[in-house]
Amino acid sequence: MKNTTLAFLFVSPALLFLLAVLGWPLVQAVILSFQDVGVIGSQGHYVGLANYAAILGGAGFWRALGRSVVWVLGNAVVQTALALATALILNQKFPGVRIARTWVILSWIVPTVVVVIIWRWLLSSSGGMINPLLIQAGVIERPVGFFATRESAMTTLILINSWRWFPFTALMMLAGLTRIPSDLYEAARIDGAGTFQRFKRITWPLLQPTLLVLGVVGTLLSFNVFDVIWLLTAGGPAGATQTLPVLIYETAFKGYRLSEAATVSVLTSILLMGFAFLATRAMTAQEAAR
């Protein structure tokens, strides 16, 4: 038996499983998107591309897509900054570094619902801790509602989600940092390179492959985040945090327009698959260049 055939035989159970749990629902979603099904369980009729025309011609999809882009970029920037700083600290040798590497991941392993409850109460303007602290520090004069305005709601959500996810990113970066040969730093030090120069000339370039992988995975994960947004703002206020996953949920289960929701899902999947394809090609090209 050829090696290729044997390899296919080995991976075929996993592929078949993936086909069943991912492929079949996706096919169902595509079929639904060509119908006019309302509530789950009700009958629909074939409507051709009508749903696609309505969704792409309306403002709701594009606004939600715009918010999703803001959400992904915001999370990418904040998480990368927090994670990189954390990874650099954890890559140093100091007493308790092993404990710190374990403890830093705590916020990531806490269940989402618990995270939401903690932050909701911390940020409450009538009994939470953050408002009094900010008042004492002179940052604000009176309690503010962190989810009360369009801008503050999205910013607060990004910060909370980043707080939850940055430990995971930090550990991935730490793994990348530990792979950088220490003799490079020693040589740079002998050549008189300062901390910033060592970071700029060694750490940052050699961390690029890790950052690229994290960028792709992080974008796909962030894009699909639903729980934190739904539990904290349900897409509000006034739709300010209604990203595409929230729009899909609301359309399907609150608007009872299952086929329209399936249409948005299919469009979202195409977008994400396109992104993943381009990113994978970029990574392959980068790998080949090295």
Partner: protein
Amino acid sequence: MGDYMMKLTKFLTLAGFAATLMTGTAYAAPVDLTLWHMEQPPHRVQRMKELLDEFNAAHPDIQVKQEPQSWGEVYAKAPAAFAAGNGPDLLFTIPDFTTVLKGIDAVVPVDDLVKDLDAKHGFIPATLAPYQYDDHVWAVPAYNMAISLWYRNSVLKAAGVEVPKTWSEWQAAAEKLSTDGKYGIGLPANKQLYTDQTVYSVMVNSGAADIYKDDGSIDFDKPATVNAYDFYSKLAKLSPADNGSWTWGEAEACFASNTCGMILQFGVINTYDTQAEGDAADLGVAPVPHADDQSESATISYSNAIMLTTKDEAKQAAAKVFLAWLLEPANYGRFLTMEPGLFLPVTDDGAKADSFWNDKTVTKYKSQVETMVANSHAGKLFGFTTGKVFPSIGAISAQNVIAETLQHIVVDGQTAADAVKGGQARMSEIAKK
């Protein structure tokens, strides 16, 4: 050998009897009923368990088991369960949820049962009305909830204000109660059901109860609605800044901690009794104040009901036995007091039942509960006021369009007139689909 044959014959005879008995037992197996309800707090689940255990013990041929769900999920979960053939046999509901499930043919009419129960116990008409349409009754009312204005007598007295009856008195009171670190009133502005309910409580008090015309077209954009939104948004400014993410719990917590002077809520008795002062004499409850040009107060009321959702005739018969048992005054009061001071009776004899009034908490807060019951009689519900029910109310309610309209005022700074105009367009768009 003969002895052996005798033993074998005896054994086979006994085995035959045993098999016959087992088969007989199989035929007499109890009818299993699955009940979905959305009363998730542990003490409510426990009370339901006690009632079900009692019913099951008294009716060996019927076994009812509960499966608690959440209101947040059941709108999506129930249709999916029915589509997959795994739906419950009995399902708690509120009026708009019934329209959704009726739309997928998951609900069985209960005309005869309700007729019998009405003759025996006397349903309060307002609790039955939201379930009577299309020539049938679609659920058996189980308990009622009505929003009231809650306050502390001592707080109002200290500020020198009377219990408000009109909007101008209400606003003046809220302004006077707003002092350093205290909020005169706690009203939600979240895009969520609680905000729908509180906004509608204000709407019905300005004469804007109907959101549909008789022909099913939307009747939302009118001066009375604009007035209600304008007034509500003024009061919302006197509420805590995070009211944009409030649900029922935050309002109750604000009241319990004495941070909010007044709130609109179905009930606060349990929270006040267990997490605040618990001084029955100081807890005040009143009808929701009405607009200055109106003469009487009204409110929003939700009669929660139980739908029959099985097509199996044996299960339907068993479910009817259970529902009839539940509404018996001796049992019904204990059902209502699974959350004392929140769930109100829907039947005339239930409203007089010792099992209700003898509850420890209800006894302690008797005058408040009496006021709540009185308020509930003036209750209305959006989409169920004209005697006709249109299917789009399910989607309008589920998408919280009433609350969303408010957000356009308090978040986007729109005028009440513009926001209500937008709300009319949004409801019309939903009704068209």
